[in-house]
Every structure is written in structure tokens, then in C-alpha cells.
């Protein structure tokens, strides 16, 4: 059941340029799964709407959120000032995440791809996939795309998967984006890829959609759009779909409710 509650800040630290790692404790954590998100409200009454932030990790009654401060005088800047003990209002758990059982059962060589601030949600996904994996060794490959050598979370993925890194400026590993890694490392385990699970900026997701169709690889992507309600009421956050959406009866699905995770084949992006 979705709820609006006051979560408690356990810890917050800056983990990279403008990137913050926030741990909160909330009753909602126990219902949270990979790919879902919450809406985080600021205590600044001039900024009323919730900020959608993905579940980066779930640990008992704790949620980990990793988010970027997008500029000065933004809601995320306000959030970055939270300190342990503070209350922060959240709404959740929102959206449909990944069907991890299905993924574990039906795909042998998943590749996770995270670009920029699309990286955090991949962590909980990697964790859930690994937890339910029937294989003795880590069977996941993860490609993480950064702008430059200001990496974040990369180390944590290494415990769960084989990690490949792309940087726009070429300062770490492959120069380019996550798909450039696929091309460059086709001879490695990546060549066997039968499933792409991705989150990142729209151009990256569009490229992945194209790539996966061309190669006939199944792909699920996690989308982002401006949201108001986060619960499916305002119709603010839609994405175009190929087929008529069963809820809206037009070719639009609500990212906050039907998504944010979609089978790329369902989307018209």
C-alpha cells in the first residue's frame, strides 16, 4: 500500500561531485524492490512537489537513495542539507520495478547498464538478481557510464558483478558510452548478452532500444519524466507506447505507475 510518511535520516554523505548518498529509515522499506522509486518531499514550502528518487538499496527498514543535486536553489540541494535525525517526508513505494524472478529464470547473461545518475537503481537490481541467482559465481555484467573519473558506486557493483566502465572523457577504461563498451568488449562475456537492463539519460536509452532490437536482445529500461503526483492521478509523466495502454486507452503509459521499468518493445521512444 502506498503511503506518505515521515522517514528518518540515518546518514548522508557526499560521494562524488554533486552526488549524495542518503540513508533513511522508514516502514516503507520492507515493500521496496529494485526498479521502484519513492517521492521525496523537501521541507521548503516553496517547493511542494515530491522528487522521484530510485531505490538504490534496501536493507531491512532502511532505504538508500543516491541522488544528484541538479543546481542551486533546487529541491535536491535542500535535501542535501539533511542531517542524521532529521525527518524527511516521503511517498511510496511507487512504480513497478523489475520482475526479478522472471529475469533470473529466463535469462542467462544479463547485462546491467547504468548511465550517470541512472546508476543507483542498478545496484539494488544487481543485488536482487545475485541473491536469487542459481549460479555459484556472479553471473552479471554491469556497464557503468560516467562523464569523467569522478566515479561513484562502481566499487559496490564489483562485489555483485563484473564491472565495465565507460567515461565520456576516456579517463577511465572505455572512452564513450555504455554501448561503446558492448562493442569494444564483444569478445568477453558481454558477447553472450541475452538481456539488457538499463537506466540512464534518454539518448542512452534510445540507443539501447535500437541496439537491442537490432541484436534481438530483450531489454528493460527505466524511464524518467517530470512528475507531479507520482501515483498515477495527474497524467503528467507519460511515455508514448506502441500499443494502446490498457489504463489510458491511448498510446501513453504513466511512467510512475505502469513504469518506470518498461520492456523497450512496448515503448515508442
Amino acid at each position: 500500500m502506498k503511503k506518505k510518511v515521515q522517514a528518518k535520516v540515518i546518514l548522508q554523505r557526499k560521494i562524488s561531485d554533486n552526488i549524495y548518498d542518503l540513508r533513511i529509515s522508514t516502514e516503507l522499506a520492507r515493500e521496496a524492490h529494485a526498479g521502484q522509486f519513492i517521492g521525496v518531499y523537501t521541507n521548503d514550502r516553496s517547493k511542494l512537489l515530491p522528487r522521484p528518487i530510485s531505490i538504490c538499496e534496501v536493507d531491512g527498514d532502511r532505504l538508500r537513495l543516491v541522488y544528484r543535486v541538479t543546481g542551486s536553489n533546487t529541491g535536491t540541494e535542500v535535501l542535501s542539507q539533511l542531517t542524521p535525525g532529521d525527518s524527511v517526508p516521503i511517498i511510496g513505494i511507487l512504480g513497478n520495478g523489475y520482475d526479478v524472478d522472471d529475469l533470473v529464470t529466463n535469462y542467462r547473461h544479463p547485462v546491467l547498464m547504468g548511465g550517470g545518475i541512472g546508476i543507483p537503481p542498478m545496484l539494488q537490481l544487481a543485488k536482487e538478481l545475485e541473491e536469487r541467482s542459481p549460479y555459484p559465481e556472479p553471473y552479471l555484467n554491469t556497464i557503468l557510464g560516467y562523464r569523467n573519473s569522478d566515479l561513484f558506486l562502481a566499487e559496490e557493483f564489483k562485489d555483485l558483478s563484473v564491472v565495465h566502465i565507460a567515461t565520456e572523457d576516456g579517463s577511465v577504461e572505455t572512452k564513450g558510452n555504455v554501448l561503446d563498451v558492448m562493442d569494444a568488449k564483444i569478445g568477453t562475456g558481454l558477447g553472450e548478452c541475452d538481456l539488457i537492463l538499463a537506466c540512464g539519460p534518454m539518448p542512452m536509452l534510445r540507443a539501447i532500444a535500437k541496439y537491442s532490437r537490432e541484436k534481438g536482445i530483450k531489454a528493460y529500461v527505466s524511464l524518467e519524466e517530470r512528475m507531479a503526483c507520482g501515483v498515477g492521478a495527474c497524467l503528467g509523466c507519460v511515455v508514448k507506447t506502441r500499443e494502446t495502454d490498457p489504463h489510458s486507452h491511448v498510446n501513453n503509459a504513466r511512467i510512475c505507475t505502469e513504469g518506470p521499468v518498461f520492456d523497450v518493445d512496448a515503448l515508442d521512444i
Binding site: 500500500m1 502506498k2 503511503k3 506518505k4 518531499y41 514550502r45 516553496s46 517547493k47 511542494l48 512537489l49 515530491p50 543546481g71 529541491g75 511517498i91 519524466e225 517530470r226 512528475m227 507531479a228 503526483c229 507520482g230 501515483v231 498515477g232 492521478a233 495527474c234 497524467l235 503528467g236 509523466c237 507519460v238 511515455v239 489504463h247 489510458s248 486507452h249 491511448v250 498510446n251 501513453n252 505507475t257
Partner: protein, 313 residues
């Protein structure tokens, strides 16, 4: 420097029921169209049976796809939206949304939109035999190219569409007015003279936000409708002006966040109030408004909410 607050008095057996065009609402609180879907999405947060009414998202004769995204953006003390009246069309609405709402002990106000007079009329006719309590006609959406606001910014057009709808409507007809006009009372008079049973105001005020970093509009539609607490003073003013002008009841809305805000509208002349964008912020705003109005009535020894309607002149 005394604050003049009336002393708290004893609880009385209070009446919070209000009546509009023969329809009785258990309390004066509904939701603003488009901010609550048809209620399904807020079922986790509140018991819909506690509301005076649920006002649904605007519905057209056929499904509308709405505007491109981004459709919403936050602004200081509020938000802009340019949803563009995406809706599944009246058929789906009658099959799915009305039966869903009939499961609750609340009234149903259906918000109607269209591109032409004929389209509005089509939806109204289609609803004639449906178990809905009231129709709210949206002639004030600023986010669609045809219809909608055009009717709401021209007294003649408003009169014409109101008459046509009244001629076919089986339920009471509330015309929802646009604040984007020079003289709201002129529009109110036009709707009243054409037979409207009540008025809803205000719809959103047309606004714009520019993303200075991307050098583009924050909304794909360029402009959007401003709502939230930022617009409340404009809404209260218009409700007051209209209440001094027409005799038909008013559903007041625009930035209601709490009971105090709702009471401003009621004292200014609104018979009912609607909570809009604040549903997104505090999904239980409506319930807090309802109980807060009761508290105020107790505190001020008000036995019937009717005593409050339009009490400030």
C-alpha cells in the same frame, strides 16, 4: 495587539451538509478535476466515502492523447501543468470509472471537456442515464488548442454552450470558469443567464516557466496552467466577486492547502470547495480540510455550515 479570535465554545450538533441544485453533499469538500483521476489512485491514502464528492478528470467523447511531455513542472508555491486533457473517452469512463466510484458513499461530479459544442453535448447526453450526480463543464482548460478556454474567455460563447448543454443535461450543470479574463463577473453572469446551476472557479491561470540552462520552455506546450497555493488570493477574489454578482452556488478552488484556506473560500461565498494540486503534496489534504472545518465550526459555535457561506461581505 489582541488577536480577536473567538473563544472556543461547546460542541453542538453541527450540520456540514450543503446543497447545490437539489443535490445534497455530506460535506462541502471535493477534489479538483484532473488532480485525483477518478479516485482510484488515492484509494490507498484516503477513504473516498469521506469526501463530499469526487470530481473526475475531464472526459471527452473519444480518447484524447493529450500533450507531449514535459507536461508538468514545479514553480514557487505551485506547479504548471499542460496535460492537454488526456482521457480515455466517455465509453471507458462509463464502463470503468463510474462503477468504481459507485462503490463509495460519495457523490460523483463528472468533469466534461470537448473541442466543439457538439463534443460537449455528446458527452453530456451520454451521461444522461448514468448514475452521476452533477456535471462540471470545463470551458477553461488553457492547455488545448481548440475548445475549452475559448468558451471560457468569451461571454457569448459561454452563454451559447451553457444553453446547449442545459437543454440536454439530465444532471445539474456547473460551468467551470477560467480566471484568465478581464472580468470574471461578466462570465459568471453569462453562465447564470444561460441557465447554469452553479459555477466552479477557478481553473488554472496560464503561466510559463523557462529553463535558463537548456534555454527552452519547461513544458513542451510552452505555457501551462498555474495551480497551487500561489494562486489562492486570485481565486478567493474571484469567488468573492462572483458571489456578489450571481445567485447560483459556487464551488471554490485554487490553492487550498488546509481548512483555513477552504474557509476563506466559504466565507467569500463558495458553497463547496475543491482541493487540487495539494493532493499531490499531501494526499490526505481533503480529510484534514473536512475535519478542520468541523473544528472551526465547533470553535465558533456554528451550527450550520450555511451560516458561513458568504458571511464576509
Amino acid at each position: 495587539m489582541f488577536d480577536g479570535r473567538p473563544a472556543v465554545v461547546k460542541d453542538t450538533s453541527m450540520n456540514t451538509q450543503v446543497k447545490i441544485a437539489g443535490v445534497t453533499f455530506k460535506n462541502p469538500v471535493t477534489v479538483a478535476s484532473g488532480t485525483f483521476g477518478s479516485g482510484m489512485e488515492y484509494g490507498d491514502f484516503i477513504d473516498l466515502s469521506k469526501l463530499g464528492a469526487v470530481t473526475t478528470k475531464g472526459v471527452a467523447p473519444i480518447p484524447w492523447v493529450g500533450n507531449p511531455t514535459p507536461r508538468v513542472t514545479e514553480v514557487y508555491g505551485g506547479m504548471l501543468n499542460a496535460i492537454g486533457l488526456q482521457n480515455p473517452g466517455i465509453d471507458v469512463f462509463c464502463e470503468r470509472d463510474i462503477p468504481f466510484l459507485k462503490g463509495f458513499d460519495t457523490k460523483i461530479i463528472v468533469n466534461v471537456c470537448g473541442r466543439t459544442e457538439d463534443e460537449y453535448v455528446e458527452v453530456v447526453e451520454r451521461l444522461a442515464d448514468e448514475p452521476v450526480d452533477m456535471l462540471e463543464i470545463n470551458v477553461s482548460c488553457p492547455n488545448v488548442k481548440e475548445g475549452a478556454i475559448a468558451f471560457g474567455q468569451n461571454a457569448k460563447a459561454l452563454e451559447s454552450i451553457t444553453s446547449r448543454i442545459k437543454a440536454v443535461a439530465k444532471q445539474p450543470v456547473i460551468m467551470k470558469l477560467s480566471p484568465n479574463v478581464t472580468d470574471i463577473t461578466e462570465m459568471a453572469r453569462a453562465a447564470e443567464s444561460a441557465g447554469a446551476d452553479g459555477l466552479s472557479l477557478i481553473n488554472t491561470i496560464t503561466g510559463m516557466k523557462i529553463d535558463i540552462n537548456r534555454r527552452t520552455f519547461a513544458l513542451a506546450n510552452k505555457t501551462g496552467g498555474l495551480s497551487g497555493p500561489a494562486i489562492r488570493p486570485v481565486a478567493v477574489r474571484m469567488v468573492y466577486q462572483v458571489a456578489q454578482t450571481v445567485k447560483i452556488p459556487i464551488i471554490g478552488m485554487g490553492g487550498i492547502t488546509c481548512a483555513e484556506d477552504a474557509l476563506e473560500f466559504i466565507l467569500a461565498g463558495a458553497t463547496m470547495v475543491a482541493v487540487g494540486a495539494m493532493n499531490f503534496v499531501e494526499p490526505d489534504t481533503t480529510l484534514r480540510v473536512i475535519s478542520g472545518i468541523e473544528d472551526y465550526m465547533k470553535r465558533t459555535g456554528t451550527e450550520d455550515i450555511g451560516e458561513l457561506i458568504g458571511a464576509v461581505r
